[in-house]
Subunit: 581 residues, 2 copies
């Protein structure tokens, strides 16, 4: 080793030791005949001192050091005169006796500090410098720690990590695949996996019983703010289980991660049906850090002459505690918020429960005081509260009110990043109506099993069929989802039929799986967690980008290595493909 | 859970318990009024009994069970009358009181037994059934265990596992890349990584200090018997270290894996220079389970009138203990072996040291007894030994004799799969002459640092320059290799120049790395182990295929899922590529 110690480990108990350290120059300052250098490595910062009186040449050498120079110093651990008790090494410094520059450095294009002056683009181009900053590096250390905890827990529960192939087969169901031309099989392509779904099910058929994998997956989608073309899943599957077993095992996983990584004792994870989540929060991933549940009020408000409510399928509202003081301007802001094209609502009704007990609504014309009192009772409002009401088609208005609820949560400081509120959402619908293609498609994927009681509905009312499917949600973000799978060829074939597959298509794409079901497939089910997302929640970040070492931008580009890029004619020729621009 | 216990855990201490088990029917047999069923799961086999006298209907149901049916039974643990002490559950059986068929099974196309009647092709097509067989499943359990050990050891040494991107940039240096057309950047391609080499070096520049990753890598090569287009590496890098540190840390890794996985205490791993390995074994990956080192004999045999030796650059041989009794036929076999086109030697000379002490060679015409006696002394041969000698151009004859040495090792039973002989090979040449393209290319990769003393030779005698590069070899197989890297822009640019890169090419392909070297790059180096290969050695297998859950065949096909395959016109159009057959 070039060093005897790291920059984060020497303390007052090491006084007098002769040590050798290596690291980067964080900053340096002159003070009289002295030069002080903060030297940084992954483990911390240690202060170096150079004194003209002791060694003028060495001190002169130290004054030549630039920021981010890589150096190696030897010297003695001495006590600092002015201590910094905020850092572990803050009571000592190194009286340097020799200094070697291991590598000089150009001035970095932005500050290597917790708070940097570098913009997003510059930091992405020089990602290797951005990764030197504590907050970015800490995210990746956290990620490593979390991955270790996942493996420790699952290994302890007899799960086996099995690597499934990356070069697989393209299937049109679901999102768009990335494909890889095969040189040895001209005209044919591999696809990169969107998930190891079929392979993990085959492992259950193989009797592996308990499988997991922390695995890269790929989706060629137009990238929204917080999507990456390659992302990481904690992918899991179990056989001979029921839904209850999966919920328990993976609730245990989440609980132990919070405990061991963040020292947080989670309570039991509450459970809610999809139907209730939609009714009470207008979302299948409600942020349950705060209550503010929806209150439906059709019975109270209809047929009183207010056409907006009379014509609406659903009238529904929320109660914002202590917001009766909201000014006209604040209420207008909220109205503007829900009228934004992304939300698309037409209007917002309010009822102020004033601190003097009086009730004041924006629809006084249609509802008298007695009627408003009934509103207040329905919402259990108290003096000082504000009730916000929207109306429209059920699905639409729920979605809109959900956005308003989250906005109110933000305004009221109810969405604290240090509070964690996990939730199981259960009984998802099996199928989802696809407006564009005018057909049903699988809400999760085509291997999800319907609830046995609902199978009969497949023919009469497919949209009502519930699945043995579940999501885990934390703080309004879906972090994992799974289902009990179909393990019967006949039922799987029926599902493909309902998803509009011909027999031939089903056989061509998933024949191997349906064949496998005929050779002794056990009941099985599983779950997959979005690992990037989970780490970002643990890190208190809004974006997954900073928990990924080398992320891509919204055009799928890695601007640091400048990829994707053109390839040579020789390569294209060998692959027997042509670009067709 | 559908079960209370697994099929591998019940023993005599569980007598009298009411249990529920699930699993596959391994086999069943009738004996008088009884039916015995062996039920299998991942954990073991448990015997079930059905007795007509107790429940004739249930017994009748049991007789209907076919092989590989998935069943669930409840019953009582009782003592077996005829015990099988070879299995943990061999003292008990389950007196079944209820039986449920969870899934029927067609007759599998081959036997699900340790020894199967299925050929390679059939087993690959039904890989999910092959994976049910103990030897195949055990390989994957071993693989999981080894991966856990790797992570535990490296985590304990402050290494951080960082995921590097899979969608990267194509570089023509090295093997052929798999490429991925970018839909969002038409005409441009990602490449799949052959290794995370540049990214791990950038992590060192970022100050990560100790990085590892168990990671999939990809190479689009014509597949020899034991190559896979996707394979797994244990990829590692350290900063502020010297070669000695890397050797120690990773010798520690290998040692702890042998200890914890196979309970084998390895001795210190011996070290040998590349030059010595070539001189003594004719190979840079010698199988050191057995000695049989090369003996060079130019000085002894030249200018005695034997033109084959006189004209040879090198005359070199090995001594096979106790092989003087080899018959003419056996010696002819050896000669045929080395004359095979894969080896291409022209002839084999022998000297028999007979048990009566006499010496008999195939070149008695040219060498008298005194001279043969000197041969015997040089080889320290004893009565009963056989000396085998070859002659030719140095590089060629060494390679040929190396093959003969391994063949003799096989014949003499010196290559025991349960014996493990690791070796460090050090000081590899930096450059290798490429006959076909008439230029030097990097023996490891272009980021390997030359030994400082040898840099001057780059201009005068590039082939003589040694690198700070090392391989770990076990039993004649290279299982890992690495180097101390260049961390200086000027030296890196010099290397690219010597590898025939123009400045523009170097900048276009590796500009980001050379730029990074200017912002404070620490001294660093690393190593990568072939994880598939390492597992196969631990498993005592010749092929890596059976330590991979879903391997591809020699044409790069997954015959189970039938991939690669054609993709739709829509997909090609979106990607703006055409096939060009």
């Amino acid at each position: 080793m070039l060093r005897t110690h790291t920059c984060g480990e020497l303390t007052i108990s090491d006084l007098g030791k002769e040590v050798t350290l290596t690291g980067w120059v964080q900053k340096s300052r002159d003070l009289g005949g002295m030069t002080f250098v903060d030297m940084r490595d992954r483990y911390g910062i240690t202060q170096l001192t150079f004194n003209s009186d002791d060694n003028a040449a060495l001190r002169a050498q130290a004054r030549e050091l630039g920021r981010e120079f890589v150096i190696k110093v030897s010297g003695k651990v001495i006590e600092r005169s002015s201590k910094n008790l905020k850092m572990s090494t803050g009571e000592i410094e190194i009286k340097v006796s020799s200094l070697e520059v291991l590598n000089a450095a150009k001035l970095p294009p932005f500050l290597i500090e917790d708070e940097t002056d570098g913009g997003e683009d510059l930091r992405m181009k020089y990602r290797y410098l951005d990764l030197r900053r504590n907050p970015v590096r800490n995210n990746l250390v956290l990620r490593h720690k979390m991955a270790q905890e996942v493996r420790k827990y699952l290994d302890g529960m007899d799960f086996i990590e099995v690597e499934t192939p990356v070069l697989i087969k393209s299937t049109p169901e679901g999102a768009r695949d990335f494909v890889v031309p095969s040189r040895m099989n001209p005209g044919e392509f591999y696809a990169l996996p969107q998930s190891p779904q079929t392979f993990k099910q085959l492992l259950m058929v193989s009797g592996f019983d308990r499988y997991f994998q922390i695995v890269k997956c790929f989706r060629d989608e137009d990238l929204r703010a917080d999507r990456q073309p390659e992302f990481t899943q904690i992918d899991c599957e179990m056989a001979f289980i029921e839904q209850e077993d999966i919920l328990n095992v993976f609730e245990g996983l989440i609980r132990i991660m919070f405990k061991n990584v963040k020292d947080i004792d989670l309570a039991d994870v509450p459970r809610m049906t999809y139907a209730d989540a939609m009714r009470l929060y207008g979302s299948d991933k409600p942020d349950t850090r705060f209550e503010m549940q929806f209150v439906e009020m059709n019975e109270l408000v209809k047929e009183k002459g207010f056409p907006v409510f009379d014509n609406a399928e659903l009238v529904v509202g929320i109660k914002a505690k202590n917001c009766a003081v909201y000014t006209r301007k604040q209420l207008d802001e909220l109205t503007d918020f829900i009228k934004r094209p992304q939300i698309g609502a037409t209007g917002l009704i309010y009822l102020r429960h004033n601190s003097d007990g009086t009730l004041k609504s924006s629809v006084d014309k249609f509802y008298n005081e007695d009627e408003l009192k009934k509103w207040s009772e329905l919402y259990h409002s108290e003096p000082g509260d504000l009730i916000l009401v929207m109306a429209g088609p059920t699905e639409k208005v729920r979605k809109q009110l959900s956005e308003l609820r989250l906005e109110m949560g933000n305004r009221l400081g109810l969405r604290d990043k240090n509070v964690f509120s996990p939730l199981w959402v259960l009984d998802f619908p099996l199928l989802e109506w696809d407006e564009e293609n005018e057909r049903y498609h699988a809400m999760h994927h085509p291997f999800t099993s319907p609830k046995p009681d609902d199978i009969a509905l497949l023919d009469t009312n497919p949209g009502e069929v519930r699945a043995n499917a579940y999501d885990m949600v934390i703080n309004g973000t879906e972090i994992g989802g799974g289902s009990i799978r179909i393990h019967d060829r006949t039922l799987q074939a029926l599902m493909f039929k309902h998803l509009g597959f011909s027999n031939e298509e089903a056989q061509k794409q998933f024949g191997f799986l349906m064949d496998a079901f005929e050779y002794g497939a056990p009941p099985h089910g599983g779950i997959a967690f979005g690992f990037d997302r989970l780490v970002s929640i643990f890190a208190g970040l809004d974006s997954i980008r900073d928990v990924i070492a080398f992320p891509k931008n919204n055009s799928g580009r890695d601007v640091m290595i400048d990829s994707p890029s053109t390839i040579s004619e020789v390569q294209l020729k060998e692959l027997k493909i042509k670009t067709d621009l």
